[in-house]
């Protein structure tokens, strides 16, 4: 008798979450199989890519390829509009790096003004990433969620320390989507989802960021967390882990020396841009195969490659 491989579609599935509104809105999640296991059952919603734009514009950008792509842009708003034309892009991720009180400490009002200007200019769904300062992030998310009501944005992220604040404003009062961030630990990821749901935030409004790291930099923790979360969500039908996963890739990969060290310092490594692209591509691919439903990336060549990679496996 001919060998027929066993199928492994699950009864449980990942929540389908919609981001943005109108023609350009996207749905992530919804699958009842492991990532890219289309041979088990069809996957309706392919994983997506959001393009990260810093509120600092190109300041501090070391990549010639990224600079070239945004050549001619006079503002962050221009960049966001331009990013929509990036091959493979489905969303814009506005990163408020300069809001950090230990850095430039950009005011909440300025952040809101920029978010509004970007939202007025782009049609793609908007993700808002904070500066990692717990209090400041809560203030920004609160104010931006209010200002962008009706845009169905995703705020990144609510953490254990500020989930009440962020969940109540972004998730409840302003009806946006909330990213729940934990650090490579399935139990913490689950706990935060439980807390958000106790707060009243509907499951369908929550995405998870279960941690992020660059390939070669403790990526095993992230990889195993992704594997375990998907196994719990699908094989064990754990409702508290069925939220789609959003992973910031570029903030990690563009911070390691493989992507930042100038060519003069290690000539044998070759051009910086190429190293940055490969780090981003390699890390994003590994995240997607582990179970990220959306990855946040920067370089146009890396975005195009990962988009093609996704399509080739769907």
């Amino acid at each position: 008798m001919a060998f027929t491989p066993k199928k492994q579609a699950f009864n449980a599935k990942i929540n389908a979450v919609t981001l943005g509104t109108g023609d350009r809105s996207i749905v992530i999640g919804g699958e009842n199989v492991l990532p890219f296991y289309t041979f088990d059952a069809p996957i309706d919603n392919k994983p997506r890519i959001a393009v990260e734009i810093s509120d600092k514009g190109l300041e501090g950008c070391v990549s010639e390829g990224i600079k070239a792509f945004y050549a001619g842009c006079d503002s962050v708003v221009d960049m966001a509009v331009k990013a929509q034309s990036m091959e493979g892009a489905s969303a814009i991720c506005l990163h408020f790096e300069s809001a950090d009180p230990n850095g430039e400490n950009k005011s909440v009002e300025d952040c809101v003004a920029l978010a509004k200007a970007v939202a007025d200019a782009v049609e793609m769904p908007i993700l808002v990433m904070g500066c990692k300062n717990i209090e400041k992030d809560a203030q920004i998310f609160n104010a931006v969620s209010d200002a962008l009501q009706g845009k169905n944005i995703l705020v990144l992220s609510a953490r254990e320390e500020n989930y009440k604040n962020v969940g109540a404003s972004a998730g409840l009062a302003y009806n946006q989507k909330v990213g729940a961030e934990s650090a490579v630990d399935i139990n913490l990821a689950k706990q935060l989802n439980v807390l958000l749901s106790q707060l009243g935030v509907p499951d369908a409004s929550v995405c998870m960021n279960v941690g992020s790291s660059a390939a070669g930099y403790g990526f095993e923790y992230l990889s195993s967390t992704l594997d375990r979360v998907k196994a719990a969500a699908l094989a064990q039908s754990d409702k508290q882990l069925q939220m789609p996963i959003v992973t910031p890739v570029s903030p990690e990969t563009w911070g390691v020396k493989e992507s930042m060290s100038p060519e003069e310092e290690s000539p044998e490594w070759g051009p910086l841009d190429e190293r940055g692209i490969e780090m981003e591509v390699c890390t994003a691919s590994a995240c997607l195969v582990g179970g990220s439903n959306l990855v946040i990336m920067r370089h146009p060549a890396a975005v195009a490659t990962i988009s093609k990679f996704i399509d080739s496996l769907m």
Binding site: A215, G216, F219, E278, S312
Partner: protein, 448 residues
Amino acid sequence: MALKGLDIFKLTPKKNCKECGSPTCMAFAMKVAQGSVSIDKCPHMSAEALATLSESTAPLMKTITVGAGANEHKLGGETVLFRHEKTLVNRNLYAVTLCSCMDDAEVDQKIAEIRKVDYERIGEREYVEFLFLNYAGNGADKYVALVNKAMAADRALVLNCADAEVAKAALDVCKAGKPILNGANKDNLDAMNAVATAAGVTLGVTGANVSEIYDNIKALEGKGNKNLIVDCTGKDAKETFANAVLVRRGNLKDQDRTLGYPSIVNLAKIAEGDLHMQTALAAAFTLRYGSIIVMENMTYAEALALYGLRQNIFTDPQKPMKVEPGIYALNGADENSVCSLTVDFALTYFLVSGEYERSKCPVNLLITDASGMSVLTAWAAGKFSAGTIKKFFDEADIENKIKSRTLIIPGKVAVMKGEIEAKLPGWNVVVGPMEAVQLVKFIKDFSA
């Protein structure tokens, strides 16, 4: 697959002689199936029956050894599908393609490029382990000439050649190096099997889909060849990914030993000419079941990313990665530069050194032996204390090697400041930040 009582019964002599202590062969077989009695209690079992039974208790996935000498590699032998379930045993290896269609100069140049990427990352040599030699159908002479050149490159070889005659000619020159002969399919199975077994090398087998792959493996096993590797490469990325997952899952989850062989995935074929796409796919197959990943090139840029990923994925979850204790002079630090102390846990080292490198400030990063634990874990376990730090300073001869007397310690162990000062008289101990990400600002302010 564990044998059932009835299967074992079929293997018994059916004498019902009771010598095993059971009333009938059937009763005996049932007990063996439960594991309550060992099969050797029956003195009348035939050698073949015992072989079949020992087969059923063998590991699900075979470990295949290929290459010779310094280029010997182990493939397969995995017991789990995901690293958190236990640990992954044999990391995936990389091959880069050469072709009999290339002229000598091209081949030489490509081999030189391949050899350039060869470095160490946390105690592991990172390089291209295999040369993958494509036969372009242009005659045995050309192919043998390519094999001869490749043999001089000091790498293990994969002969990708579905023409048994040509493969035989190639193996005549290189079989001592235990190459893999890849290219068996349903049309050339017997001929390829004869050539591979005569040369004593691993045979790579493929098929149009998983069912055909399965049948081909069955046929080869039927001829007594269990020295195999499965070429999972399909017509595109999607099919290749499906093959790799279905073969490994069928083996380890559904416990079918016929699928218990390592795999080859040929990205040079399914993403020809697109190096970035090959990197994306290589990362995917690092996680999902590629044993030998075949690339068109391995540039330094690809290597830095892919080997870093591989090293992470194939670490033993029970055994942390460590770096060598010692003085790491960063950003051109000399004996007068400030010292910063941390533990030998590889991730800590990478984060701390990465942040310091970003700061561009010269720092002597002192890595002390803490059994590969993170700062707080090591401190709690007594592996990172004033005593161990003093011992490290003595062994590494820090006092004489470095003139600076400023020592930054991790903010998480600020409590140790006093004890360290007591053990290291003359040193100015400074408490650093809690997290590595704060180091850039800290050291810039400190150096200003």
